[in-house]
Amino acid sequence: METAIQTTEPKKNYLNAEYGVMSWLLTTDHKRIALLYLGSITAFFFLGGFFAMLIRLELLTPAGDLVLSDTYNKLFTMHGVVMIFLFLIPSVPAVFGNFLVPMMIGAKDLAFPKLNLASWYIFIIGAGFILYAIVTGGLDTGWTFYTPYSTTYSNSNVVAAALGVFITGFSSIFTGLNIMVTVHRMRAPGLTWRRLPLFIWAHYATSVIMVLGTPVLAITIVLVALERLFHFGIFDARLGGDPLLFQHLFWFYSHPAVYIMILPTMGVMSEVIACFSRKRPFGYDFIAMSSVAIAVLGFLVWAHHMYVAGISTYAAMIFSLLTFFVAIPSAVKVFNWTATLYKGSITFETPMLYAFAFIGLFTIGGLTGVFLGAVGIDLHVTDTYFVVAHFHYVMVGGAVTGFMCALHFWWPKMTGKMYPEAFAKLSAVLVFVGFNLTFFPQFLLGYMGMPRRYHAYPPEFQVLNVLSTAGASILAVGFLMPMIYFAWSLRYGKDAGPNPYNAAGLEWQTSSPPTTFNFEETPVVTSEAYNYDEIDGTTQKGVEVAG
């Protein structure tokens, strides 16, 4: 490579540029803010996992004998609220988006660094309200806050939790705003839209959803809080309102929200699969356009969560048809990733193991989503464990797997250290086995009629529930192991060097860890993205440093 990048690590990087707690709490460096998010969301992931553990323990036996039914309501509510709002929504964009977007486009930071820091503080304050709601008695409305239970009848901490969700929503909005403006205005010279990494396309599309959808959730949850405090009646039939209007407003955001959770990981997949097949992603234009299509079409399908709530049959049919359409761009991506693998030089490092897991598990989750989109099927399996299995396949088998994939792929870049490959592969296998053992039985349970959100069930469902709980224990081990070996790698891990995987992309042209301002000189991009043929060939003409 004919650039002036040093091959030995410079002494100063973003981690050791300044020391002290305040240098972290007042940082405007997008990379440090990414790590602040990483620490926080990891803690919240294990909190959500703790609630999951209690749920699975209760469901070991048919009788509701571990906790009271009211407590169980709080457990699944807090599991959902914490996992969705405090882990999944921020996860990839706030950690890897923050860290990588500027670097991948050759910028020194995001467009609004102080807003970025404010985003994290807003996230923490919102999380504080939610934690307050947990410790002062919990929330039992379900993460979906359906009215009039949440506005009138629940005796739990609805207002505090609603405020918490409202506030974290703004964190999400500001992160999306920052990424959108950055991608539009701060690309390096020569970096046209069609030379952008697909990771950027995915995060751009996600940001569009965050900016357009989250405010509607914000105002809806404000109305719920106001209704609870002042007995307005907007969503309460007893007072002349319509509970379904709440559901329309809620799902208008919450359906696109699931695309916020999955799109960034799809961007990760394009990067990782390309790197470990040593090939440009097949159908780059299609993958890029499909991200935009998912963002737009995702706003058109929300009432498929409401088929049995009381909406008109005709509306249900319209939304069902639109739901079938939204599956198409996701399928396009899966086909293109598979075609990328074809005739690639495939190696099986840990990120690639997670990528394979993602393709399989997301496909199952996505297809079962199409089943649920058909009104006739949904009438039978809605509010059963079939739905629970579906969304855990896409959210855990898809989004969490994608997060772990990204963590392993870019850990060397973020920390300068390699993790122990053998342990990492082992935990990836444990996650895959544990996950399937946990959630596949739930498809069967739901099909056989076991309802969701119930703490007790008929005895004939016990065997599958026991299998599910057993799988959850394995899954837990699979998630705990990385905590240990990543920590270990910080001290004892091998030095990674700038590009341990020989990957394409501007972020790999910096040191590991990068310096505070990423690039001393703004790079000038002259080749297409994913120039693996050049990288693996004898001459490398990827990037020239402007000088």
């Binding site: 357009l212 208008f252 706003f299 009432a303 049959t313 005709y314 509306a315 319209i318």
Partner: protein, 102 residues
């Protein structure tokens, strides 16, 4: 200093005057009985006022195409929210035995 044109003070005052006139007009029209057209006229006048503010006071007329697309997208998605929600409310009265296409 930016490259694009700016409205002059004269333009600003003209827009301001137009906004005040339109406000008086909409109050006046509301006192008449136009049946369903009351709402249409009121919203049309409001939209004209909004466009005046956006195009001239907020200089949207002189902004980049990207900015215009962003604003139009927001309005479009709002229409989606209202429109698709209405597809539920307006068809709830229909039953399986009522053929709306007859």
């Amino acid at each position: 200093m930016s490259e694009h044109a700016h409205p002059t003070v004269k333009t600003f005052i003209a827009v301001w005057a137009a906004l005040l006139v339109l406000t008086a007009l909409t109050v006046f029209v509301a006192t008449l009985d136009l049946g369903p057209f009351n709402a249409i006229v009121a919203l049309t006048i409001a939209t004209v006022k909004a466009l005046l503010v956006m195009l001239f006071f907020m200089e949207l007329r002189y902004s980049t195409a990207l900015t215009k697309v962003a604003v139009i997208s927001a309005v479009f998605f709002l229409f989606l929210l209202v429109g698709l929600t209405l597809s539920d409310y307006l068809t709830r009265g229909w039953s399986a035995y009522f053929n709306p296409f007859r």
